[in-house]
Point group: C2
Chain length 298, copies 2
């Protein structure tokens, strides 16, 4: 029995009359190939990546396992449709908090069509991508116990400023994520972001690969972070914090050049996470400024 | 007695009727403030930077020392003109090989005017900036002994492809830089790029700062690398390889965010240099490709 995934916060959702991914509840995730070549492109990436011996196993672990493509009844009722068969990254998680972070100041690539270039450039400028090197694409934060979760709607996320992103990354590891009155308490920062298997350690491992690899350029790909609130409350996280890369419809060949666009954004994200670990109590203090007086340009 | 600097490979040159920098031959470099606020902007940066206690001394050493501004007769004969008074980075060098590398895939900044944005974007796309995260702005390579130097003209440099940049970084440390027949021999790679005071070590030190610093964003700034051919031939380089940052007319406040644009380009340059050190004999072999078949977009 296939169903729409419970824990999706970004991308197209499967629904009545709408094409979206499906899960089998036993560990597989079926992603319908998107039209206009994006689907074929993503399938080509998975196929190339999964058989490339130059990708070390510890890096491969950041990517969903790929099990080919399969014709399945589309979720929109339009009949058989090709799907990527991938590992379900949320398997075994009952109440995961998750955040989808689209990495890179630039989501367009040199060979993009003029229309695509213009669309991406506008989104990059309107969102935090240009300024921060990444943007939040979706987030859900469980409140612990049975208190439900907090999930800002997509329009709100699209309007996130740098300050909102800074706050969201704190809320993501707080026991009071939805409070407007109090600053996020960052109660779970050291458990989720810190430690030898925490988010920071995993991002640094990814970064080391991106400093070296020249195989692929990951435009518009996301870092997806997930953890189980129950585990964290019981102090059992660590091994259970999942950091994955997803969304490869716009991966390009690297041609011997590192993916400096993705790497720069990743380093920016790493800096945000590091600061939360260094100053978990700092209540969104404005960053210290350089004392410049630039009359005309700033 | 002021005169035009001997070893300039990029930027405006002082000449009859032309405004450009001057040197006093005793260690000072006078850079005329450019019009349209760029000059005032660069002066504001130097003033802020040189007095900011958060910049550690080993980082400060990458920047020209700043000694205020001074009214001097302009090189174009137009009368007194304000100049930045800076350390002459080439002081003491008799026959330096030098390369000016403008860092960053993007030379425009979020607050740029539409006209400036468009001009920069076009240059970034037409040059290697977008693809590599940096471009060559100027280069001069001495041939050793009295054989003179090789310096491609500016139009040729503007047309540099990724392959040309790869080759130029090899020529820069070769004893046969101007040969068309033979591949660059990379005879001086280990002396200039390698070692504890070589280019790679210094770039890695800069990189560590850029991973952390959120004070400034260095749009359109350059890494300038210089070494004395005579020293290298005599096997005495190391300490004498100079790596400096220059050109700060478009530095912006960092506002608590790392300069992911500069950092990404710097990492890309570091990868190029590392590869030359790893494979000094590799004669411009085409980089190994990922086996993708992207029909429409690549």
């Amino acid at each position: 029995m296939l169903s729409a995934p419970e824990h999706q916060v970004a991308g197209h959702r499967a629904a009545e009359g709408q094409l979206g991914p499906l899960v089998d509840g036993a560990g597989l995730f079926y992603k319908p190939l998107q039209g206009d070549d994006r689907g074929a492109h993503e399938a080509a990436f998975y196929s190339s990546f999964s058989s490339d011996p130059r990708v070390p196993p510890h890096v491969r672990a950041f990517f969903p396992g790929f099990h080919g493509t399969q014709l399945l009844p589309a979720s929109d009722g339009s009949g058989p449709h090709p799907h990527l068969v991938l590992d379900d990254l949320a398997v075994g998680l009952r109440r995961p908090s998750l955040i989808d972070l689209k990495i890179g100041a630039r989501t367009w690539y040199p060979s993009a069509s003029d229309e695509y270039f213009r669309k991406c450039l506008k989104k990059d400028r309107d969102s935090t991508s240009l300024a921060l090197g990444f943007r939040v694409s979706g987030v859900r934060i469980h409140q612990g116990g049975d208190a439900g979760f907090w999930q800002p709607d997509r329009d709100a996320i699209r309007r996130f400023t740098a300050k909102d992103v800074r706050r969201t990354l704190r809320q993501f590891v707080s026991s009071n994520p939805s409070s407007d009155a109090d600053p996020p308490d960052c109660a779970f920062a050291s458990t989720v972001y810190g430690g030898s298997n925490g988010v920071l350690a995993q991002l640094l491992e990814l970064k080391a690969w991106f400093e070296d690899q020249t195989l692929f350029h990951f435009y518009s790909a996301s870092v997806l972070v997930m953890y189980e609130m129950e585990e964290v409350e019981a102090g059992r996280a660590g091994g259970e914090v999942r950091v994955k890369l997803v969304d490869f419809a716009h991966v390009m060949e690297g041609n011997g050049i590192i993916d400096h666009n993705f790497l720069g954004g990743l380093c920016s994200l790493i800096k945000f996470i590091s600061e939360i670990l260094t100053d978990p109590d700092e209540c969104l203090v404005e960053p210290k400024k350089a004392h410049l007086s630039f009359e005309n340009e700033c």
